[in-house]
Symmetry: C2
Subunit: 211 residues, 2 copies
Amino acid sequence: MGKAKISNAIIRRLPRYRRYLGHLQQTKELTKVSSNELSELMGYTASQIRQDLNTFGKFGHQGYGYEIKELLKEINSILGLDREYKTVIVGCGHLGQAITNYTYYYKIGFKIIGLFDVNPDIVGTTINGVKVSNVSELKDFVKENEVVIGVICVNRENAQSVADALVEGGVKGIWNFAPIDLDIDKKVALESVHLSDSLHALTFMINNMDE
Amino acid sequence: MGKAKISNAIIRRLPRYRRYLGHLQQTKELTKVSSNELSELMGYTASQIRQDLNTFGKFGHQGYGYEIKELLKEINSILGLDREYKTVIVGCGHLGQAITNYTYYYKIGFKIIGLFDVNPDIVGTTINGVKVSNVSELKDFVKENEVVIGVICVNRENAQSVADALVEGGVKGIWNFAPIDLDIDKKVALESVHLSDSLHALTFMINNMDE
DNA sequence: TAGATTGTTAATCGATTAACAATC
DNA sequence: TAGATTGTTAATCGATTAACAATC
């Protein structure tokens, strides 16, 4: 018997809680926070914050609030950020390299163990100490090294075949940046960042402010 | 008297409708589509699709369906994609360059007229025919050239001050890639792409499939 | 203890889905 | 006309907010 399904809305708020708690801890050097204080800071109602957190457990202390360090640890655990993820990046253009650098910069648990491209000028070179291999080797590499996350930074036309190779290789999740809705085994987690959709939402908002 | 406020949920679905309609038109060479066909394709209910579209007007033909070309034109208009946006990109690292290339590749209406960075090695060079200027000139450039969109590709620490310069210069919208919730005049549209949040949602999903 | 703040139940609100009349 | 499919109203569902008892 599985737990009740967590709504997507909550999943999207969790990383944001994490971000604010981290900020409070580091910049403000606070050790405790109440749902009311978080509410003011983040723009959610205090009620929603308590509801969200209570979906996963009783992390607060009545009459006191939440111990930031403790709550952060719980959220990290909920998000699965207390483990390491072997990761490969497919497509080493600017976006692929941005992601590579990014995961280094904010490093927690994402270990890039392979880079892949089709461009013969790039294949064989080394980026941040990781060798760039040909995409033809992707599936076997994923299988042999038990890669958990595959990041797709190739163009729309090649995204689905890359996804297929990743899934066949056995990844548990795909982080997709190609502007296409991939069709993959639903046992594999899929998170797509549709930059064009995001940009078009922005233009909509620009043209519809204050109405 | 303004129109009824459009819910965020609908705004997020609009670009996706656009993507699928474009696909039907180009790849499948279809000219018409019904809400039922779109439903099967996109995974929304036919009812929701009709509700969504009717928020903006009566674009369909009873007993027939939707003329794809016509509907696409309407959606482009709703999203504000029937005009051009003078755009600047601040931060010319890999991410900034990826965005620059990206807007060239899928070009419709986003004209990059300025690039900005702080790194003296980059300032003065030219990327895709656009000169890279020092961030110190950002505000005046935005004002003089009536820039509409500012894209923030700098790190967390500098994002707020860049946003301030953009807003003071008079941009109408900000597309933010720094992992921080910017505090800006609410008359300016803000769309943030929080890559870390997206990645953390993925790890959550990886650890909670099928429960 | 009194005051504060959580955890949780109940009420409200908004978004999605179903149903069907309008009409091409 | 009959069949199909939209536009729109009504019903349902789920998420958010309010209220308050539990308790530190």
